[in-house]
């Protein structure tokens, strides 16, 4: 039954390969991809069922026992990420039914999307550091392709920065892998965690851990390494923006959570309580200020991703059971809400032909349901009860209060208020503002499918956010379980090494 761990990686990969075989049949590609997304979602649920029975699930690939082979590990955090990523995967595919241009479908949109998802799932499930690097590269190169699909000037401009920063990050990651291997002679995460305890020279460990932190910090768009994100995320097709916003930066955060609970916990005062904490605080402050300065919906939302990453980093930095559980809750909530806001910006774009706030207006009258869904997601992002964002922030902030860290508390609350400001700015311009004169000569973007396909994922994700708020207790239990596993790494180590 352990082979189930392989399914979330193998299915999208297979779908990607089949999509390449049926290169000239976009319709068939779409069906295959949607089938794969549904199956991935079911397999994630299956993983939860197996985990409840057997504990942490480990698959040793090729029958090679750890630490000699590659292990795939599904603990509660990894499974939750797989489940939420599969929902975003399916949502994006359905949204694309209406919004993706025929050209992009002809030039490999679906194969790339499937392979990117395979890379994301691989990063969640792998228990081997070099294997993680390989999954990162698969995810990256597919995302490069998605980012420039269409080849507009703005896309190419953004892509240069995105590609350069991500390749730099990969090189640093690889450097860190080399140094770590030189130090402990293994790359299995559980085995590394055990062997590092025997290393006496703490300085070497700190250097390697900082290299990893910079590499993952670039992926996660943490301060001061986030510049590629505002330069690129608003440029591609809206479904691509949405799936990037939902999944890619969160993979960086997920890996930080994995590494800084399992492997690098030698010097908490330095790595967590000073560096990660202040990086987190600055990330959220600068992200939210950057968002406040923008005047286009997609740019506001893109820059805002950075600010949300800050909360997750702060939660990791505090490193108490409550904070880690809050951080995990926050990641899941943020993936749902952020993706949904991007989807909504897409619907707005197809109704008005622009993302610029000044050219929008009157949407509340024209499309009241859209207004309701936007309000649900935006207020959830800002953290108003009873939506999911309220509980995510509430848990993180109560963890901060428990540590009596008043500065962090101040920034966390202030950033939350500024988030509300940005969201209300979109609301008052786009929804309450006067409907602008639409000149006949400006070309309107054309939908390629039925418009209702765009509403399916938006409705579903808005309801999910509401549900995560109303049933917060249920989700919080899983978050606590995940946090327990992270903070007691001997369960993970035992499951992988089997000692």
């Amino acid at each position: 039954m352990m082979q189930a761990v392989l399914l979330p990686i193998a299915l999208p990969m297979l779908a990607g390969a089949l999509c390449m075989v049926f290169w000239f049949q976009p319709r068939l590609q779409t069906y295959l991809s949607i089938l794969s997304a549904v199956l991935v979602m079911l397999s994630a649920v299956w993983l939860f069922a197996l985990h409840a029975e057997l504990g942490i699930l480990v698959l040793q690939l090729g029958g090679w026992q750890a630490p000699f082979g590659i292990s795939l590990v599904a603990d509660t955090l990894a499974m939750s990420m797989v489940l939420i990523a599969s929902i975003i995967y399916l949502g994006t595919l359905i949204f694309s039914l209406a919004s993706q241009s025929k050209t992009s479908l002809r030039y490999g949109y679906l194969p790339l999307l499937n392979l990117m998802v395979a890379g994301v799932m691989g990063s969640f499930l792998t228990g081997d550091i070099f294997n993680l690097y390989v999954w990162f590269e698969i995810m990256l190169i597919a995302s490069f392709g998605l980012l420039i699909l269409g080849g507009e000037k703005a896309q190419l401009r953004g892509a240069i920065k995105y590609v350069a920063m991500n390749l730099l990050s990969s090189a640093l990651f690889l450097t860190a892998i080399g140094l770590l291997y030189g130090m402990v002679g293994t790359l299995n995460m559980a085995d590394v965690a055990v062997k590092l305890q025997a290393i006496e020279d703490q300085r070497l460990i700190i250097i390697v851990s900082m290299l990893f932190m910079v590499a993952f910090g670039i992926k996660a768009a943490a301060f001061p390494l986030f510049f590629w994100l505002p330069a690129s995320y608003h440029t591609p097709a809206v479904a691509v923006s949405a799936v990037f916003a939902g999944l890619l930066t969160k993979v960086g955060v997920y890996v930080l959570f994995r590494f800084y609970t399992l492997i690098f916990t030698q010097d908490l005062d330095f790595t967590h309580h000073s560096i990660l904490l202040w990086a987190g605080i600055l990330t959220m402050v600068i992200g939210v200020l950057g968002a406040a300065a923008q005047m286009s919906i997609r740019r506001i939302l893109s820059v805002h991703i950075i600010s949300q990453i800050g909360y997750m980093l702060v939660a990791l930095a505090i490193f108490s059971p409550l904070a880690i559980a809050g951080g995990i809750f926050y990641i899941i909530h943020n993936i749902v809400v952020k993706t949904n806001l991007f989807f909504i910006s897409g619907i707005i774009y197809y109704q008005r032909g622009s993302y610029e706030l000044k050219k929008l207006g009157g949407l509340y009258k024209d499309s009241p349901w859209l207004a309701i869904f936007f309000l649900l997601s935006a207020l959830s992002l800002a953290g108003l009860p009873p939506l999911s964002g309220f509980f995510a922030k509430f848990i993180v902030i109560s963890a901060i209060v428990a540590e009596r860290d008043w500065w962090t508390l101040f920034f966390a609350v202030a950033v939350s208020l500024l988030t509300l400001f940005s969201m209300l700015k979109i609301w008052s311009y786009a929804f309450w503002g006067k409907k602008p004169e639409i000149s006949e000569d400006s070309p309107m973007p054309r939908l390629t499918g039925q418009a209702y396909w765009m509403w399916v994922p938006v409705t579903f994700l808005a309801v999910t956010s509401l549900g995560m708020g109303l049933a917060a207790e249920f989700f919080f239990q899983y978050a606590q379980q995940a946090a327990y596993e992270l903070l007691h790494p001997h369960h993970y180590i035992q499951a992988v090494l089997g000692e």
Binding site: L140, K153, A154, L156, R157, A164, L167, L168
Partner: protein, 116 residues
């Protein structure tokens, strides 16, 4: 040997970072290429001592090798890393070519967001 390699790798990293901070996008990609190679050399050097003429073969009948042998894993890592960086850099080269065709500049300063 280690010392020579250390200086070599260090200067490659320095050169790569310097190239990446120049304004020309061609130099940016050259920087990335040097960086990828420097990283591979680094793995080669730090992952265990360089040991020549001792292949990791186990004599028939025994379970472990009789003497210290070269560690084959770093070479597998480097090989994978070379293949990946080759693919990614090929993409980067095509990308800068396309950028030059479409936008007509090779200066990072002219690639700002608002220069519509």
């Amino acid at each position: 040997m280690i010392l020579i390699m250390a200086f070599l790798i260090g200067s490659m990293y320095a050169g790569a970072i310097y190239m990446m901070m120049r304004r020309s996008i061609i130099k940016l990609v050259m920087g990335l290429i040097i960086l990828a190679n420097a990283t591979n050399l680094l793995i080669f050097t730090v992952a265990g001592p360089l040991r020549r003429g001792a292949p990791p073969l186990i004599a028939e009948g025994s379970i472990v090798p009789d003497q210290l042998v070269a560690d084959p894993l770093p070479q597998a890592l480097i090989l994978t890393a070379i293949v990946i960086s080759f693919g990614v850099l090929a993409f980067a080269v095509v990308l800068i070519h396309r950028v030059y065709e479409v936008i007509g500049v090779d200066d990072m300063n002219n690639l700002k967001d608002d220069s519509e």
